[in-house]
Symmetry: C2
Subunit: 349 residues, 2 copies
Amino acid sequence: MQLNDFLKQTSEWLKGTGPNSDIVISSRVRLARNLDKALFPSRANKKQSEENLEKIKEAVQKVNLLKKSLLLNLNDLDNVDKQFLIERHLMSREHALRPDSKAVVVSEEEIVSIMINEEDHLRMQVIQSGFDLFGAWEIIDRIDNELSEKLQFAFSPEWGYLTACPTNTGTGMRGSVMLHLPGLVMTKQINKILTAISKLSFTTRGLYGEGTQASGNFFQVSNQVSLGHSELEILENIRGLIKQVIEQEDQARKTLMQQHKQLLQDRIFRAIGTLKNAHIISSDETIELLSMVRLGVDIGIIKDLDRKLLNELFIIIQPAHLQKIEGKKLTTQERDVKRANLIREKLGG
Amino acid sequence: MQLNDFLKQTSEWLKGTGPNSDIVISSRVRLARNLDKALFPSRANKKQSEENLEKIKEAVQKVNLLKKSLLLNLNDLDNVDKQFLIERHLMSREHALRPDSKAVVVSEEEIVSIMINEEDHLRMQVIQSGFDLFGAWEIIDRIDNELSEKLQFAFSPEWGYLTACPTNTGTGMRGSVMLHLPGLVMTKQINKILTAISKLSFTTRGLYGEGTQASGNFFQVSNQVSLGHSELEILENIRGLIKQVIEQEDQARKTLMQQHKQLLQDRIFRAIGTLKNAHIISSDETIELLSMVRLGVDIGIIKDLDRKLLNELFIIIQPAHLQKIEGKKLTTQERDVKRANLIREKLGG
């Protein structure tokens, strides 16, 4: 398996299936783990880091679910490749910044990915399509169990798993859900909801992870606290919160359909009209328009388009993807043209 | 023949044929004439006006080209009907304002129309498709000659035809050409050209006649002076000027195609994408978008659309047309929806 093989497939989590996939794009669980009696990556010297890297690589490759996975040393990747992995949500921007003694492991269908020597020695994540935190949990728990047999993790009976940043100590777990909330945005209820979410000790972020702005009506909600509760309790808390957000989004969409159907149709069809016809388009505009089209599909106004294609478009219109598809470096202007061509091709414009 | 029959046809001047019809929409010649020894309409009392009206009606209906024409007393028309005639460029706003003792005569294919008791006793116009001032002149000259045998026109050997406003005295003629100049607008040369035109004693106006703003890149150019030259000299002057404007527009379009083809394609295809998909649209936005689409057809970027349909759309998306088509009064909001439906239907959106 090679990195470029990912270009030919749609990540499992983008398939647009799973529970509540009209509102929930994906569910993600990640665990932070560190080797016992080893310095955290930011404190370890080069030799120690290399030793930790090799030890973890060896263990990871023996995990049942990861037998056919792709293992990449970050120093072997060029900037476009690294950006490509970030755009596919398989690793963090931080991981790419200082590539020495770092690696990333990605399972065949991109369900599992493990960053080695990021902030912690291991950052493992599982992403599932739709609203399925417990499905993601089951997989990551199995991987964690297998790895525990091969590696000794830093663990304190009092504090739980020890991590480089204290906010991750305890379970070392973060559960997060990517929501598409155009109804709450259009009915101007979103700020009220986001405020409530943050008061309940959850954080919201944009489509492209930590520090990014919400765009295209996408919001990622995750737990802030990983200490003091079991993994299942934390996930159950997120699940309960998200269930309420889903209900409110559902209600907002119904209200819009009942009270502003023509306006909604107008925005949705204009969006698809522009996407099918533009010859130059930025990623920001694309994401805004795709968001409207996805809403159109979700509420049945657009009938001849499937969610998988739309989800895939959100990913492949990004800079590194465009450059991988084209097989060469592209300037911003060239990307805006290539992006428009690709969208027309995919949507049959 | 009835007023509503016009709904089923495309006016002759909108057929998109004729010389230079990629840039020149239509050519129009109008003559102002008054009855000898009769007070101008603004000075005549009701009885005198009615007598003049009857006299002119009788004569007009005997003209060969007008045997199958439609004669309408303005007092018999409701507001939508009057607006409908204005939108089809068959009469002026002023004529509709005070309908007493006024009439309008329209030939079968809407080539000829005559307003009776507008500012002058007779205002006759002929509109032809494309750049064809002399074609229009031939027809109106024939009608004028026939009418001169039946009516005694106010004429001074020294001043020529006498008219209510001195600016029309002399030939009583105004020739005008409706130009579509998106190339000059996009290359930002239009203001220079309009300034030059006005220095040469020609006036420019918008798509919908005197006092209207240029919209959708349409400009109507006509002579200001009707005295001191023969009709053919005046028309020859306009023709010469317009020929130069056409050449410059042609050059601007070539420059855009060579230097900004992608940008041009982007604007043109986005325009058609929006027109084919909008569910709510104002007339201003429609006209701007139709202008881009027409440019696309004219320069060969859009291949499967004909000019006649586009020209027709410019007319039928107007308020009174929408209401006549729907057969009832519509609010602005209702018209924006009806307009979008009609455009989608016509363009196969």
